[in-house]
Each structure stands twice: as structure tokens, then as C-alpha cells.
Amino acid sequence: MNKVECLLCPRHCRIPEGGRGNCRVRTNVGGKLFSLVYGNPCAVHVDPIEKKPFFHILPSSTALSIATAGCNLHCQYCQNWEISQRPPEETRNMPLAPQEVVDAALMHGCRSIAYTYSDPVVFYEYTYDTSCLARDKGLLNLLVTAGYIEQDPLVDLCQAVHAANLDIKGITETFYRAMSDATLQPVLDTAVTMKKMNVWLEITNLIVPTWNDRDEDIRTLCRWIRDYCGRDTPLHFSRFWPMHKLLHLPPTPEETLTRAWDIAKAEGLRFVYVGNIPGHQGNNTFCPSCQTLLVERKGYEVLKNNISNGSCSTCGAGIPGLWK
């Protein structure tokens, strides 16, 4: 019987009959490619939107977050490894058709649907169908992804996606290969394409001690983002917690994150955040013109919001984002 070549992500897995792709959720049956997780998520939660993290979209709102099993990256520090590094038969799934997802979001008062936890790339068809339905119902579609996807499917999907949180995990190919068993360039291409398709982009970078915490790497990353995505692109530095295969490393020290925060601001990025450290100034949004505190956050909670009509209430400068 024929093998099929999956064209969804750069791996181009050649799947034999009955086999699975690298992501564990795409299979070849009878010479045709099938997804095993369509309408069958293993995680459905209502989360604050700041958790994704999205700081410039609908603050204080909630997002219905769904994920299925499987992922096409295999990061050693994966926080969600229990669902992402498992085939779908080993996860507890619940049937939830795309229309039911939209209905659930509306029922719980969510204003957006987030495709997160594992990676929406591997449950592409599910993401696609649900986004189309959600868009028609006025819900925002948020992708939280590692961006390891081919251009054609990305372009098709982005037509229904409003915002994306892209994980640029490192800035060197060696890092990607060693940490995630993937390559860097497709991720950078994804960022550029999303920008071109007018998807609101927020970048996340998880700083792992001894892996990607050197100043030069952070500087290179910030410069790239500034040059190819724009100074207004929010950058979130996340704190690493020992998980999965990196249990021997310490959590990222606060100084490292502060240092990264400074470097990013020095390179010209206007909205830089530090996550996983409550109380840090990096949780808040400041106006790039007059430096006043616009949004004060504690963890995922918004304490104060001084943005009115998408502009600074003090100096009137426009603050990019989807505030309504």
C-alpha cells in the first residue's frame, strides 16, 4: 500500500500504512492521511486570556482553551508533556465537535477561543473548522503555537485567526535541534508570515539556565524581532521550571529574567514582559511615549487598566493591540 507524505509541517513525515507521523496524531489508513484527534480534545478549560499569555488582547476576558494530544516538537522542558508527548489513545479525550466548542465558549461568556497547551498545528483540521465557526460568531481565535508549520497551511489557517502567541524558543539552530528536535528557520518564517497576514503577534521566549540565557543570544533574538516583526510586538520572557526531561536544572533566576528584560528594552522593543514572577515590573504595560503605567497585572489578574479606546489615557498615544 502507498505511503503518504504529510505536508503539514516541515518534517514531511513519510507515513507507512498504519503508521503515525512524528506528532503521533496523523496516520495513514489505506493510502490516505487521517487525523486521529479531530473533535476529540483532551483538555478543555476556561482560562484568563493573560495566561496564554496575551497582554494586548481583550484584557480581563476569558478564553476557552482547548488542546488535543500530540505535538510535532519534543522540547525537553515541555510543561504539557503529559498530553503533548503522548498518542491520543493514552490521553483522556472527550468528544467536542467544532460547533460544540463555539457553543461552550459562548455559554461560558468567553470572548475568544485559544488553541493551546499542545500545539494547534497537529490538530490543524480541528483548529481550522472551529476557527471558521468561531469567527462567524464574533469570537476571537487565538493560536498558542511553536510555529513549526509549512507556509501553505499557515496562510490558510491565518485567514480565520485573529491573534497568535508564537514561541521563539531560541535563536540558534543548535538550540532548536538539541532542545526540541526541530529547526529554527520555519519558526522565523511563521512569524514573518503571521505579520504579513495581519495576525496580532506576541512572542514568548522561555529562558532556560545554561541553554539560552546568554546575553548575546537574547540580544540577537530581540534584534530579530525588532527588525522583522516590529518594535510594537510584545515579547514575553518566561521563567523555566524543571519539568519532563530537564529536572536537574534550577528554575530561571529572577536576575536572569530582569537582565533579559533590560536587554530587550535597550534593543528598542516597546512592550517587554516577564512572566511567572508575580510582583515583577515586567508584568505591567507602560506607555512607550510617556512611560505611565497603563495596565497593572498581578499574575494573570488585571488590577488596573488605563487604556481607553486603545490609547494612553495620559498622553493619547496609540497602544497597539485588540482592546475591544
Partner: protein, 526 residues
């Protein structure tokens, strides 16, 4: 001596052909009896569950194992029915009540000229059910000129459906309503035969002409059932249809070969539709342009040229045998004419042959017709023979009058039965009424003396050109027959079906469903 050689070679060819097909059918199952891959024939979403008793058929089941219909193959339930060139196998899907929902045409050997309309024609039978009155006969609008093939289709479907409904559904099928349709071909053919025999024995040219017109209208225009070499090729390949399913196959065979064995080439003079065309054209051309005075073919040319048709006959049969396909033997121009289907070269051949027929009497029949060659070879052994009785005065008028140069001999004229088409001109011309059909008593044939004259350039040119056209048409037919693709089904499809069914089952038990993926392609084989 030549004729004996030709007859011998023909007998050898027949023996080889029949031997091969007999050995083949005994050894290994033919394409038709081998396991047909079922998967592509059933509707989506259903699986086929094979059963062997009381017939070989399949139950079609859906995902919940509920009966959704049946599937059978017509060549397994009604194997004796065949078209012009063998059975026309079809896969038939029924709903649980026995009504036909889908028919798929499998491989067949009908000539492209007959079979182009088959796939569409077959679709008209969808909705046919064993209990509803079957619409056969006049209501079914058969393919133009391809009554034999279309009748085969109708008969196969009919018989297999009624057999299935009787044995599996335990329903008595509604009685057929078109029994009169069966007698029609035999009645008409009998009428034609009687006209021809009357014209022969009473030497009445009106009866002969009436018989020609009748044959043209019925065997030519109405049914396109003309004796041709393909039927001999059928015998070679053992594709002999039953008389009930294909009466015309037997009728034309009996008319042509049966009359040859008994009286001689009666078919050629009185029953061949193409003969009518040729003679009609001559009459018309003489009326329109009487100044055309075709030079008669000199006896020397004629004697040399008349072997052509025997060589053509043997060549066509040999090619059919070698290529194991009847298509190369279906190149006769009268088939092109009456089925209105043919390649451009075939039409050119037809036109050229008819043109030559205006100038040289019965050009095709005397020098090129393989069917005529066969009737001629048989006519040499006929029971009756045209003989000169004792009343003959050796005036030689018959010899000069014979339009096909079949009479020779100075003292007592002898008729070469292989060439004589029983037109009756000699009988009419003879002043002593000495020529008549007599039972063959002796073997005193004289060979016509070939005069050593220079061959007529125009005649030879026309002959060679027609032969080359024939070669071109035959080569094209060979090429096309090798191209004619039966719907190809991968051999091990059922194995794969079984494996993928297992895979789907596995996913079902894991609680996972399959959803068609986007963005993939077939991987090239390494």
C-alpha cells in the same frame, strides 16, 4: 491444388485455436473466472461479505453490519450469455429488495465500434427489479446497430437477476413479457433464406434481388448482423454464445456456412447486405453515367488476384490467434458501413472498395473478402454443384458471361465452386438450359488455364492499394486492441481492504475516529 492448401491451413488454424482455448479454460481460470476485486465496485461506506452458496455473491453491509444490499457478477450467474466477442461481464449492486442500484461494466471484448455506447446503455437498467415487469424488447432503445451487444447486456442482467432473486431472495421473478421478440430473428431469417433459395432453384433474378433487398434492410440496417471473420475468431477463442442470448450469431453462421456446405456461395449472391450495396451502386452508376464502361477483368488477372482473399482470411485469423484478440479480424468495410463506426482509414477503405466495385464487378467479393473466402472454401465441398448437363453444346457463352470468371473448360464447362457466387447469369444465358444445380457426383474439375498476359496496371494498382489499406486498418486494429484497457483493478486490492479494515477496527477499539487530513500527498515509491 491451392484450395486444398488453403483449406488445410484453415483447418490447422482452427485446431490450434480451439486447442489453445480449451487448454486455457481447463488450466487456469480466465480473467472472467478469476477473483474480481470487489472493493472499487461497492458504494462508499459499505463492506462486502462474500458468500458462496447457493450462488457466489456478496452481501453489502454498513458500519453497523446492517444489510444494505447485494453485489453479484453477471458472468458468474449467467456465464453462457455473450455478445459478439464473448461475455460482457458486469458487477451489479442491488438494494435489499433486489432492485438494481448500480451497474459497473468490467472488461469486455466487444469491438470498439459496437461497444462505444455500452457504458451509457447499461445505466438504463438501473431500477430494474425482479418483481417489476421487465422492460425488454422494443421499449429498450438499443445502441444503434449494436443489437447483439445490447441484447447480450440485457440478457445477462435479466438472467442473473432472476437467478439471484430465485435462489437468494426466494422470490419468483415476474414472467418475461417479450417472448415474441425471440421468434422475430428466426422468422425474418427464414424468410430471407426462402427468398434466396427460391431465387436459386428457380433461377429467378427477381427473387434474388428481393432477397438481397430484404437482407440489406434486416441484416444490414436493422440489426447489423452480418457474417464476418470475427465469428470464426470467436470459435477460435471458444466464445460461443447461446442461441437464446445471441440468435444472430447463430443465424448468420448457419446462413453463411450452412448454405455454403449445401449449395455453395448462396450467401454471397443473395444474403449479404454488402453485396446489395455493391450491386445497387453499379446499377445507379450505370443509370447516371452510362458512358462508364468498366473494362472487364482479364481471366489472367482474375485468376492471380482471387487468391488474395484466402491469404487475407488466413492472415487475419493467424493475427487474431497470435494477439489473442478478435479485434484484428473486425476490419471488414461492411462492418464500418453498417455500424457507422470506424477510423478514417477504415472509411477510406470502404469508399475505395465501393469505388472499385463500380468499375470491377464485385471487386471486394472476388479478391478481398475473407468471409467470402471462407464460404468459398466450404463451397468446394458442397452437396449441390452447378454442373453442365448433357444438353451442353460447348458454345462457351456461359464462360464469357460469368461475371466472376468462375467457369472454365472448353469441352464441358466446369464451375469453380469456390468462386461461383450463384448469381445465375450463366443459367440465364445458356441457350440450351444446360446449367443446373446437381448433386455432386464426381470430382472432374478442370483448373482454368491461366493465360500469360501482362497484368492490367490499373487493376493491379487498385488491388494493391486496397490491400495496403487493409493492412493499415489491420495494424491499427492490432494496436488499438492492445490498448483497449479493461478497467484495471489492483490485484491485491482485497488484501489491502482487509488490512485497512483491520486498521479502522483497531482505531475504533481505541476510541479514536479517523478524520480526513489536509495537506498530504502520496509518497513516491522508493
Amino acid at each position: 491444388m491451392r484450395y486444398y492448401v488453403f483449406s488445410l491451413i484453415l483447418a490447422i488454424l482452427l485446431a490450434i485455436g480451439i486447442g489453445i482455448s480449451a487448454a486455457k479454460s481447463r488450466q487456469s481460470p480466465s480473467v472472467l473466472t478469476a477473483k474480481t476485486a470487489i472493493t472499487p465496485l461497492i458504494p462508499d461506506g459499505l463492506t462486502a461479505h462474500e458468500e458462496s452458496a447457493p450462488l457466489h455473491f456478496y452481501r453489502l453491509l454498513d458500519a453497523r453490519r446492517t444489510l444494505q444490499g447485494y453485489l453479484f457478477l453477471t458472468h458468474e450467474l449467467a456465464p453462457e450469455i455473450s455478445g459478439y466477442n464473448g461475455p460482457i461481464p458486469m458487477a451489479v449492486c442491488l438494494d435489499p429488495k433486489g432492485t438494481i442500484t448500480r451497474i459497473t461494466l468490467l472488461a469486455h471484448h466487444e469491438t470498439s465500434s459496437y461497444a462505444q455506447g455500452l457504458p451509457d446503455f447499461i445505466q438504463r437498467f438501473i431500477g430494474m427489479s425482479p418483481t417489476a415487469p421487465r422492460t425488454l424488447g422494443r421499449e429498450i432503445d438499443a445502441i444503434t446497430r449494436a443489437t447483439v451487444s445490447s441484447r447480450a447486456v440485457a440478457e445477462s442482467l435479466n438472467k442473473s437477476l432472476s437467478s439471484f432473486s430465485k435462489n437468494v431472495l426466494n422470490q419468483q421473478p415476474a414472467p418475461k413479457q417479450d417472448s415474441t421478440f425471440y421468434f422475430q430473428p428466426f422468422l425474418f431469417s427464414l424468410a430471407a433464406l426462402l427468398l434466396a433459395l427460391g431465387g436459386l432453384f428457380w433461377n429467378n433474378r427477381h427473387l434474388r434481388r428481393a432477397s438481397l433487398v430484404f437482407s440489406f434492410l434486416y441484416f444490414g440496417i436493422a440489426t447489423a448482423a452480418i457474417f464476418c471473420t470475427a465469428q470464426i475468431a470467436n470459435i477460435l477463442f471458444h466464445h460461443i454464445p447461446s442461441a437464446a442470448s445471441n440468435p444472430w450469431w447463430w443465424i448468420t453462421l448457419v446462413l453463411a456456412l450452412g448454405t455454403s456446405i449445401i449449395v455453395g456461395r448462396l450467401y454471397c449472391s443473395s444474403l449479404c447486405p454488402f453485396a446489395f450495396i455493391q450491386e445497387a451502386l453499379r446499377v445507379i452508376s450505370r443509370r447516371i453515367a452510362p458512358q462508364i464502361n468498366p473494362a472487364p477483368v482479364s481471366p489472367a488477372d482474375d485468376t492471380r488476384a482471387r487468391t488474395g482473399k484466402y491469404v487475407i482470411l488466413l492472415a487475419l485469423l493467424s493475427i487474431a490467434l497470435i494477439t489473442q484478440n478478435t479485434a484484428p479480424s473486425e476490419i471488414e468495410p461492411y462492418l464500418t458501413l453498417f455500424t457507422s463506426h470506424g477510423t478514417p482509414i477504415a472509411w477510406i477503405l470502404l469508399g475505395f472498395v465501393l469505388l472499385c466495385g463500380i468499375f470491377y464487378f464485385r471487386f471486394w467479393c472476388r479478391y478481398l473478402c475473407p468471409a467470402g473466402a471462407l464460404t468459398g472454401l466450404l463451397a468446394r465441398f458442397s452437396v449441390f454443384r452447378l454442373t453442365a448437363t448433357n444438353a451442353c453444346t460447348s458454345c462457351g457463352l456461359c464462360r464469357n458471361t460469368c461475371p466472376v470468371n468462375a467457369i472454365a473448360g472448353d469441352a464441358r464447362p466446369t464451375v469453380e465452386s469456390a468462386e461461383c457466387i450463384l448469381c445465375g447469369q450463366c443459367q440465364t444465358t445458356c441457350p440450351s438450359n444446360a446449367l443446373s444445380l446437381q448433386i455432386r457426383t464426381s470430382h472432374n474439375e478442370q483448373k482454368p488455364v491461366a493465360q500469360r498476359t501482362r497484368p492490367n496496371i490499373l487493376f493491379t494498382g487498385a488491388l494493391l492499394f486496397s490491400i495496403s489499406l487493409l493492412c493499415a486498418v489491420t495494424v491499427h486494429a492490432i494496436y488499438a486492441s492492445q490498448q483497449k484497457a479493461a478497467p484495471t483493478v489492483p490485484v491485491n486490492f482485497e488484501e489491502e481492504q482487509r488490512r485497512t479494515a483491520a486498521a479502522r477496527e483497531r482505531f475504533n477499539t481505541l476510541g479514536l475516529k479517523l478524520h480526513e487530513g489536509k495537506y498530504w500527498k502520496e509518497a513516491p515509491h522508493e
